[in-house]
Amino acid sequence: MALTIASRVVDGVTVLDLSGRITLGEGSVQLRDAIRGLIGKGEKKILLNLGDVNYIDSSGLGELVSAFTTAKNQQADVKLLNLTKKVHDLLQLTKLYTVFDIQDDEASAIASFK
């Protein structure tokens, strides 16, 4: 299933609800474009809701890292919300768990940006 991205704003935080796969050729480019679009508009608080993402390949992991570094370079924050078990395990395996701010409750995640 290809990646779909829905955007909403909660208390000044842009939440991207992602659904599907983040893989080379299926979702990586969409995610990159979405992040760069937000950063380009000056958004500083971005929360990626991965609750409906159950597959990320190495390319998708790289795209998450790129989102993180792109945001940091613009003094913006990208945080992750609602990891599925598969994605959680992948982030642990690749030590990216130590890189990202990972949240499992949306209200707490929104509050953490303040």
């Binding site: 893989t23 080379l24 597959y55 390949d57 190495s58 890292v65 790129s66 395990d89 395996l93």
Partner: protein, 148 residues
């Protein structure tokens, strides 16, 4: 459509250097793992390892060159699942791939594919072809469930 050949439980595919081929390799690996009775996590590991091998072949090996092909084979020999993916590219020296877990590499956008393959499979073998690289990945049926 790929050229396929099924012989005594062994499936061989001759594929174009496209992302559609990556999806075909992933699907064939998923079916091989499912037919072998592996659980969901194990099927995920085998299919993802095969996908990463195919991405390496199409993207880094053949560099999407329409003149180059990817050869993939899938076999359950009763003791192991054996998947081979070969490209016709410049060749790969696995020793030169940086460790993606090293602190200086954690924020790199690439370089995690081979690492994931090694993490998910029991054996990983590289063979230099002329030209190209053959990557053979093996999942021991008796050891399934031992790895996270």
């Amino acid at each position: 459509m790929p050229v396929s050949e099924a012989q005594a439980g062994r499936l061989s595919l001759r594929l174009k250097s496209t992302m559609e081929s990556v999806a075909e390799v992933e699907a064939a690996a998923e079916k091989l793992a499912a037919d072998a009775g592996l659980n969901e996590d194990e099927r995920f590991h085998v299919a993802m390892a095969a996908r990463e091998a195919a991405v390496n072949a199409v993207l880094h090996g053949n560099e999407y060159d329409p003149a180059k092909q990817v050869l993939a084979s899938f076999e359950n020999n009763g003791k192991s699942l054996v998947i081979s993916v070969a490209d016709q590219g410049k060749g790969l020296t696995p020793e030169t791939i940086p460790d993606p877990l090293a602190p200086e590499n954690l924020l790199r956008g690439t370089g995690r594919g081979i690492f994931l393959i090694r993490a998910f499979m029991d054996e990983v073998h590289f063979r230099q072809l002329n030209p190209g690289t053959e990557l053979t990945i093996v999942k021991h049926l008796s050891s399934t469930g031992d790895k996270a």
